[in-house]
Symmetry: C2
Amino acid sequence: MKKRKIRKKSTGAFLYFGPPTDEAEIRYHTGFMAPDALFFLRLGRIHHLVVSVLEEGRARRTARHAEIWNFERLGLPEKGARPADVALALLKKVKVRRVFVTNEFPMVLADALRAAGLRVEAETGTREGARAVKTAWEIRQIANAQRATAKAMRRARAILREADIRRAGALFWQGRPLTSERLRAEIEIELLRQEYLSEGTIVACGAEGADPHSRGHGPLRAGKLIILDIFPRHRVTGYWGDMTRTVVKGQATPEQVRRYRAVCRAQTAALRAIRPGVSGATVHGQVAAVIERAGYPRRRVRNREEGFIHGTGHGVGLQIHEAPRISTRDNPLRAGHVVTVEPGVYAHPIGGVRMEDLVVVTRKGCRILARAPKALVIP
Amino acid sequence: MKKRKIRKKSTGAFLYFGPPTDEAEIRYHTGFMAPDALFFLRLGRIHHLVVSVLEEGRARRTARHAEIWNFERLGLPEKGARPADVALALLKKVKVRRVFVTNEFPMVLADALRAAGLRVEAETGTREGARAVKTAWEIRQIANAQRATAKAMRRARAILREADIRRAGALFWQGRPLTSERLRAEIEIELLRQEYLSEGTIVACGAEGADPHSRGHGPLRAGKLIILDIFPRHRVTGYWGDMTRTVVKGQATPEQVRRYRAVCRAQTAALRAIRPGVSGATVHGQVAAVIERAGYPRRRVRNREEGFIHGTGHGVGLQIHEAPRISTRDNPLRAGHVVTVEPGVYAHPIGGVRMEDLVVVTRKGCRILARAPKALVIP
């Protein structure tokens, strides 16, 4: 984390207050992990950090380009100062009367600063955009995360391979029923051993997979589509990986195979289309067309959406979803963007098929950051 | 989660927007886990939830007392609507012109609503307070979480017991050096197997323990204070546990024992003082006095704070830190509050001693929710 240089010169005063998005911003600029809410004022290349007495030692050791402020130095009592008091004291010390804030900056704080005569304005879109183009160092961190993700994916496949098929297609592993919960725990244990944290791992079998946000629960069954979506974060660097595979234990039906092939073709189309200068909307349109031509138009059936019902991809870095998006919005891709490519097709009750890899946009196209087996069927 | 009844009648319209704090609020009222930002409008007993098409099915199945809105029903295009458009459309549909928001509500949204003529005001302190008194159902969830935490703590002790002491006090376990990272991973694996997620587990050895927020890294050593602070969250219910023990592998020095005993006495004093009606500040004052009398006054030494440098406790529920606080602030305790009791004493370079249990305030005093061994020395 120490090797990364600050590349961009920025003007204006940017004021951040605490997690979650602002925490990624603070970490990006200083390398300092700030789990508790605090103030961070970016003035050109200098980062003014206000930290509690508990965080002070750690901040001094780990934050780059940072001037560390405590309550004493700000002339505030150790107890009883409200967040607005802290922000006002800091802004007074550094003689700033106008600040830009993120979309997450709280109204109550803005109201208090404005009441004290300061100008508080929303920063318009440039901030996340600045983080979207990754440095070589950042790409290595994300590639490491994706390799850990691929290893966890192989572990999931190995467990499914070892599992027995019993009555009514129920899967058993190590003598007990194999559930979404058990497989998820084993995936996340594999990641923990590599220093990656993972919270939302999806192991969604059959109809559950028709809802792309359902994490999955209960027994896993042979002959059903199982979506495995793994997105861990390194517990020190904070960078994420993100990968999805869809598998069937035992034998797949022709319709499952047809859907799987449509999604593979759609992903290949996306990987071919991605290059600097092309709009995310163009890529997304091509992906959607492949899936529609394969016979899976997006439509509403009995109050449920089916077909390709989400975007093609999103940026990944210190946040799991960040700029740029590959969706219906016009969003030009640039070299150094790191994005997921994750077409899918969904229907009730057959479930979902999704295939997701993480790529970095290169000068001529894109490069997959880590590979893992793609076969649909696990014998 | 289905058994909990809504107890309190509230007036006014409360508008929430997305995680993290608001997510706890949404879950508290509806039981619905909302990882992505969305709107939640509480109007008396009815909860209006605006969800994306991806969340709609899950919201209909799992949210209580909720009216689910999608973009179509709000008359919005499926793509391109900004958050402010969504909020305005919802408030128009339900004919609300004045809303209360949390401390986390974003300024950019408030500005947009105000520009459209709505009144947006900060709710003043009552919200977190309402969640502070737990129902019997909630207390059971937190007690379950604390039992899982105690089990993980016993696992950590067992690993330290199994570890060998080698040259210069280095600990080895299963043939490899035992580090903070390895012990943390084993603790969190134990929790994962019980369906609990844990991110910030502290395993801080020696001088690292002098900073209460340092998670700890590198080799663990015999004869040093090791702080083990475990706080996992159930991945389905969302309730937290929180427990800390301090141990020494091998032999403890008389000064380590003296600090440990001071902290134990301070915790006992707190457990005796906690009952409905007493102020958190009174409890905290008694705890601080015990530690000071034992010879560990709070003071600044070479730019570091030492002594008892944090509050005595905090509420635990759907957030790891919530109301009430047991600190210098006047905060009367009530039956049904669930709070940590966690005195500590810190100094450089000896490290920290902290002892933390979770209690529910009862009619006559308080009850510890789950127990775990407290012995300082692990042979």
